[in-house]
Symmetry: C2
DNA sequence: CACGGATATGTTACCTTATCACATTTCTGC
DNA sequence: GCAGAAATGTGATAAGGTAACATATCCGTG
């Protein structure tokens, strides 16, 4: 049903259940190694992001958490999501005011998001050259980059083809 | 007091009044060429962004517009700002939920923002390599980019030096 | 084990950012 | 001058996000 684990994302078909499971385990390993606590709420928040396999708003995550017996106030979701982002287990997609599970926790990478404006699909692309180019440009101005946001809005392969017809 | 008009931005000193004036004229030319109307509110909104020469929240711009006799409801600011962004006369800085005048209206470019987390300064850097790298990465996945957001958070030269001491 | 500080969670209240809907005005081409 | 389109004014409200403080849990140390 799916490729073994290619770029682990993109607009390719794959077994969500499988990649979610794998990623969750990687995340647990990362947390253990960093000595941070992947507590129940945090873990559940990550699971939710992984299950849905899409960018979700904080309030949407909150609803799911509340349904699972956790608190139902905004800070519950925001704190869990902030933890995940700070520890590289999830990313914030600013253009969508949303959050998405990181597909390669632990691996150093610049998250690059490709957002389809038609179907809403969000893909996390690996793009080290983008990171390098950004660091280079910043360096030329003497700017010291700590975090970067790179997001592209456009059409995914499928929607692009459909639009061309 | 300032360099003639270097990269027109960055963390270098320059004559704001001069570059604001120049940029406003360029913006008017761009609007004329595109056949879109740089109406009073829109022009004033752009002037405000240029005068302040920094990223401003929509409500902040709204206050200034209202003080100048325009409407005082959110849509007034959002519509003017949306127009400016759509026509390449301003950019949206998502990390700050803010807007900044474009320093090179008319010139095709990927806006890259360098945001100092210490002093809040925002610089618009020219970085075609970043744009190219992003387009390349997207292309490999068959994604068709229409708009890109590239923002880096970190320390500007000045704050970096101060922090190092 | 117990106790004390650090960490995490629950909850209330509130602020900021952004959009919808609809009436009114202004512009533009004919 | 008039009809349709574009732009603006305004009220209401949705959506996103944070501050502050009380309570509970974890964890190292004596």
């Amino acid at each position: 049903m799916a490729s073994p684990t290619p770029p682990a994302n993109a607009f390719t078909q794959h077994d969500h259940a499988h990649c979610a499971d794998t990623t969750l385990h990687k995340a647990e390993a990362v947390a253990a190694e960093k000595g941070v606590r992947l507590t129940p709420v945090r873990k559940r928040a990550l699971e939710i992001l992984l299950e849905e396999h899409r960018a979700m708003g904080a309030y949407e995550v909150l609803d799911r958490l509340a349904a699972d017996g956790f608190g139902n106030q905004p800070p519950v979701a925001y704190r869990a999501l902030e933890f995940l982002v700070d520890n590289g287990l999830a990313h914030r997609v600013r253009r969508l005011n949303a959050f998405a599970a990181c597909m390669r926790p632990g691996e150093e990478h610049a998250p690059v998001f490709l957002i389809c404006r038609e179907c809403g699909e969000v893909a996390e692309a690996g793009a080290d050259e983008v990171r390098q180019a950004l660091l280079g440009a910043a360096d030329r101005l003497g700017f010291h980059v700590e975090r970067a946001t790179v997001e592209a809005l456009g059409l995914c392969p499928k929607c692009y083809q459909e639009a061309a017809q």
